[in-house]
């Protein structure tokens, strides 16, 4: 275990750490001069802006994943034992296809001339015909011509792509915490006069909280490092910080700066995981105290 950790985690990370304090001496040689310049470059407002945009887009995607994932997890957890494996399979199925291919499929669906706009255009035509038929002015109500939705190349398109990729990762941890939950607690809550909404809010969500927090982390952290989705679904218009990092290791050939950027991104991740661990510890202490009292 230690060897594994050393070989695949500490050593590569150490090298990146050294690079991040280095300078390009020639186009292929990096010398560790303990310069702080690479970190200083991160304070450039443009770079900070990209960090902020990444946090923001990943945050929105995570919230959507949780809001959509909780009911789906609940449906699976409460399904009959015969149906469960099939529902889980349906969630996992897209993962058997390569991410790049799935992303290209989304391009085909979400484009200005994509399938989604085909369907909306068709509905628009039918809707107008229907309104005209019942004596209303369809063109006035729905517009003379159908204006296709622009989804690609916008933050919405990027968030959609991240949600699409992350949703299963959000559903599974919530499902596993709901699965273990004692169903009779819900029944007790309803029997004692709490409504459905109150039961969800006061009983279900708190019980599923560890799963929800895991789901949030497991969605948020990879979302923070996305570069394929902004490149393709964002059409290069909505760059995130990982696009800059990728460029440093390839086109810009500036590994020291790329290393510094990736380490800072890693620190953000560590802080989140640490916050999660402290939160858990605090909750455990509260429970202890509750029992002791």
């Amino acid at each position: 275990m230690l060897l594994w950790l050393g070989l695949f985690f500490v050593v590569p990370l150490g090298i990146i750490g050294l690079y991040s304090f280095g300078e390009n001496v020639t186009i292929t040689r990096i010398e560790t001069t303990w310069t702080l310049e690479n970190y200083a470059r991160i304070t450039d407002p443009v770079i900070l802006g990209l960090f902020w945009r990444s946090l923001w887009l990943a945050g929105v995607a995570t919230v959507i994943c949780l809001v959509v994932g909780l009911p789906m997890a609940l449906v699976i957890a409460t399904a009959s034992n015969g149906a469960k494996p099939w529902l889980l399979l349906a969630i996992m199925l897209p993962f058997w296809t390569n991410l790049l291919i799935r992303t290209y499929a989304l391009l085909n669906i979400l484009g200005t001339r994509g399938r989604l706009n085909d369907v909306l255009g068709w509905l628009h035509g039918k809707g107008r015909a229907f309104l005209d038929a019942i004596g209303l002015d369809g063109a006035a109500a729905l517009g003379e011509r159908f204006v296709p939705l622009t989804l690609l190349g916008t933050p919405a398109g990027v968030v959609y792509g991240i949600v699409y990729v992350s949703l299963p990762f959000a559903i599974l941890p919530i499902y596993s915490s709901l699965e273990r939950m004692d169903r009779s607690l819900l029944e007790a809550s309803m029997d004692l006069g709490a409504g459905q909404w109150t039961t969800i809010r006061r009983v279900l969500v708190p019980l599923a909280l560890p799963g929800i927090l895991t789901a949030a982390l497991i969605t948020f952290i990879p979302a923070l490092g996305q570069f394929l989705t902004p490149d393709l679904l964002g059409r290069g218009q909505v760059d995130m910080i990982a696009n800059v990092i990728e460029r440093q290791f390839k086109k810009a050939n500036d590994w020291p700066f790329g290393s510094a950027l990736s380490l800072v991104l890693l620190y953000v991740t560590f802080i989140l995981i640490a916050a999660r661990a402290f939160g858990d510890a605090a909750r455990a202490r509260r429970l202890e105290r509750g029992r002791a009292a």
Binding site: L50, R113, L232, G236, D239
Partner: protein, 362 residues
């Protein structure tokens, strides 16, 4: 660079007949004794995706007995990133001119012994002394082409004459795709402003950056690998692209055209080179010589639809190919076009910072 170099999928099918003719040739090849020419072992060939004739590599194996290990890269940056830490085992690579320069500077390429490549005689003398590799010490030409504008004929009043039509004017707002190549896109902006695409002075770079930031709201996509797909699918009507990519979709759609703007575009040349640390150097020479053979070269050019610098191969090609204005642009469009020169690491950093600001804007 994410040039997609695959043969046309939708080419109306002389392909099949060619394929049969090809197999016949292979049949003949089989009957030849491997004899004195036969060499031992293998050669590791690292090339762009589908940037080779249909049977070229099999023919080479049959002719020489050398086994080809074929591996693909997606762009020059990937090739460079893999080689800079030490050659992982490639014998022949296909870098583009500015990367040849960069690799020579980084001492990643082996000087070539021209006496081991007799087919050098086939190469058009115009290609034998380029500025990026004087005297062809490190590289030999494989294919060349341009970057210009692909457009949908029915969607424009006239073919775009100037880079300004996609980089400055609002005429085609929301219908434009640019490449997602920092260097290339900024270079074309410098061209539009009347400068050499290799004059990376601070003022030129700043002006090019400002031009792109101002134009950004009117640009639909910075396309990593799919500008021609966006054009073909009708998502955009004009796309900055490699000529070969546009040539491919022109074969699927008559409504597509390609033009080199009057300011000139970018000239590029892909080369054959042997990286330092290659294990099968003799076999690498054999492969390079084979690829420069007149008939082999003609077969490749016919199949992938790019311009060949091989005069003997070109002489064997059809009139259609030789007079295709997309593959071989007219003289006057060519005269303002330039090849890119590697600007040096310090400039590359400035270029990338400018690009980061362009991409983050808006």
């Amino acid at each position: 660079m994410n040039r997609q170099r695959h043969p046309s999928h939708g080419r109306p099918s002389p392909g099949r007949r060619r394929f049969l003719a090809g197999s016949a040739a292979v049949g003949i090849g089989l009957k030849l004794p491997k004899g004195a020419f036969a060499a031992e072992g293998e050669v590791n060939f690292y090339n762009w995706d589908t940037y080779i004739g249909e049977t070229t590599l099999e023919d080479f194996e049959k002719a020489t007995g050398i086994e080809v290990q074929y591996d693909l890269f997606a762009d020059n940056a990937e090739l460079f990133a893999k080689l800079r830490g030490g050659n992982p085992g490639y014998d022949v690579i296909v870098p583009t001119n500015d990367y040849v320069e960069q690799m020579i500077e980084a001492e990643l390429l082996m000087p070539l012994d021209h006496s081991k490549v007799p087919n050098i005689a086939n190469v058009d003398p115009l290609f034998m002394d380029p500025s990026f590799d004087p005297g062809r010490t490190y590289s030999l030409p494989y294919m060349w082409g341009t970057i210009g504008i692909g457009y949908r004929k029915s969607a424009v009043e006239a073919p775009p004459e100037s880079w300004n039509e996609i980089l400055e004017s609002d005429k085609y707002a929301g219908r434009i795709a640019l490449l997602s190549e920092p260097t290339t896109v900024l270079q074309m902006a410098m061209k539009a402003q009347g400068h050499s695409l290799n004059d990376w002075s601070d003022e030129n770079l700043a002006a090019a950056e400002a031009m792109l930031i101002a134009q950004k709201p009117r640009i639909t996509a910075f396309a990593p690998d799919n500008g021609q797909d966006l054009l073909l699918g009708g998502e955009v009507d004009l796309a900055m692209e490699w000529n070969g990519d546009i040539q491919q979709i022109m074969e699927e759609d008559d409504d597509i055209g390609y033009v080199l703007p009057k300011e000139g575009g970018l000239l590029w040349e892909d080369t054959l080179a042997i990286p330092v640390g290659a294990k099968n150097v003799e076999n690498a020479y054999a492969l390079i010589d084979f690829l420069l053979d007149a008939e082999v070269g003609a077969g490749i050019a016919e199949f992938i639809g790019y311009a060949t610098p091989n005069a003997a191969a070109k002489a064997l090609m059809s009139e259609d190919y030789k007079t295709n204005p997309v593959i071989f642009p007219a003289e006057d469009a060519m005269k303002n076009s330039e090849a890119s020169v590697f600007p040096g690491q310090e400039r590359m950093r400035k270029i990338d910072e400018a690009w980061t600001r362009v991409k983050a804007a808006g």
